[in-house]
Symmetry: C2
Subunit: 253 residues, 2 copies
């Protein structure tokens, strides 16, 4: 049986199954390496080359997003592809206003640093993409969404991460512009009032390649937290537990 026909249709190189001989089990080392490589090598990219993304690559990236999990299989996402320069200029202007407004809340020397950082590549990137959430898709009763209605937006975020990782595997950089106001963005892109613009993304080949570490880390803005400091055992208020002896040491931090 064909496990991912949509993806292979646009990518003849893609093999039907991973790990021959252990079909749905653990991946082969090289495949595993690909998965971890995309996770650890993914970056928020803000500097792009002007080269366009080939159509087949874009189809694969969007197909990956569309295969995210969603509550009740509601698939609440939509993808607005934006290449038009005038539209991007309007979004860029909006983001710049938000950036300057946010600067007011930082104290020096953080404010200067904040204003000196390149935070988006809206105009450099050959493609912008707005991923939205349509909360009414699937009708008023979506399986699994009765208790926590925000799971529609959660599902949309999972699609964004699929897209981000597939893009990394294709050598395509993605940057998420969160310094935007949804009301204005809706107006620019004609998004209906009930639809939520979840992610405004810039896509393109990264100028100078993918950085080795997150930009905010190399800029000295903030460091990665030790994983061990984020793990709780059996209950939130237990940072160690006899049943988990040894494991906390393996986590480090």
């Amino acid at each position: 049986m064909d496990a991912w026909p949509e993806a292979r249709a646009s990518n003849p190189e893609l093999q039907q199954s991973v790990s021959p001989g252990r079909r749905w089990g653990e991946f082969a080392p090289r495949e595993k390496n690909g998965v971890y490589g995309s996770i650890f090598g993914r970056r928020d990219v803000r500097s792009f080359l002007p080269d366009p993304i080939p159509g087949d690559v874009l189809v694969r990236i969007l197909t990956a997003a569309h295969h995210a999990p969603s509550v009740g299989f509601m698939q609440p996402w939509d993808f607005v592809l934006v290449r038009d320069l005038d539209t991007r200029k309007r979004v860029r202007e909006l983001s710049d206003k938000e950036r300057r407004a946010a600067a007011v809340f930082f104290e020096e020397p953080r404010r200067d640093k904040y204003l000196s950082m390149k935070l988006e590549g809206i105009l450099d990137a050959p493609l912008n993409l707005c991923v939205t959430c349509e909360p009414t898709r699937g009708g008023p009763q979506v399986l699994g969404r009765n208790s926590i209605p925000e799971t529609d937006v959660y599902s949309t975020c999972l699609a964004v991460q699929n897209l981000w990782l597939a893009a990394r595997a294709e050598g395509v950089g993605v940057g998420w512009v969160s310094i935007l106001r949804n009301a204005e963005l809706r107006e620019i892109l004609r998004v209906p009032p009930h639809v939520i613009p979840v992610a405004y993304l810039c896509l393109g080949y990264p100028k100078g390649g993918f950085p080795n570490e997150p930009l905010l880390q190399s800029a000295g803005w903030r460091d990665r937290l030790p994983l061990g400091s984020l793990v709780h055992y059996e209950r939130w208020d237990r940072r160690e537990h006899p049943g988990w002896k040894g494991f906390d040491g393996a986590l480090g931090g």
Copy 2:
């Protein structure tokens, strides 16, 4: 330079770089296959074998989650690991109440179908994991979070998807239980009132392997939408556009 020391510390098999010779560029076909294999072969798993997840595998999966993108690098996630049977029984009871309450809103024959489906593996799975979002992490001013404060929860969702895909590569199944009420869940796990339980997950090796298609699809509950029906060109209200001629055909649907 070592690109992902944390991951390799717990996985000597993992190679330092993908695609030797094109270090930060496109991945080799087999690595790409791994990425797409995890994306398309990932499932919401509800039937688990009792076998425990080895510590090193769990460390790698959590490390993958911790390497998700986050707004302003705030890393708002925490991980509550739950093996205790009494705790899981309480969560299972809560989920069952929510499930029956939600059933009231479905009309027959959907209601019968809904009630007949296995929606969670809280007690079968050897491990439960609650991924939370701590909105105050990083202080009152988080870079990039001024305009859309919910980006903290969005970041937490991205971490969940990293975890889900890394687990798939390790042969570990993950199921998201969304039929829960956060107030009660906070009480059971002693999560502080301002912290948001974003995802309650069941983890373990899948009984009978990973299904070929989503369970709600094979159960005839809902089908996957054609990707082409979800793509908009330049603006929300444009389902075709002269600048995108040919691309819409490549999408199908």
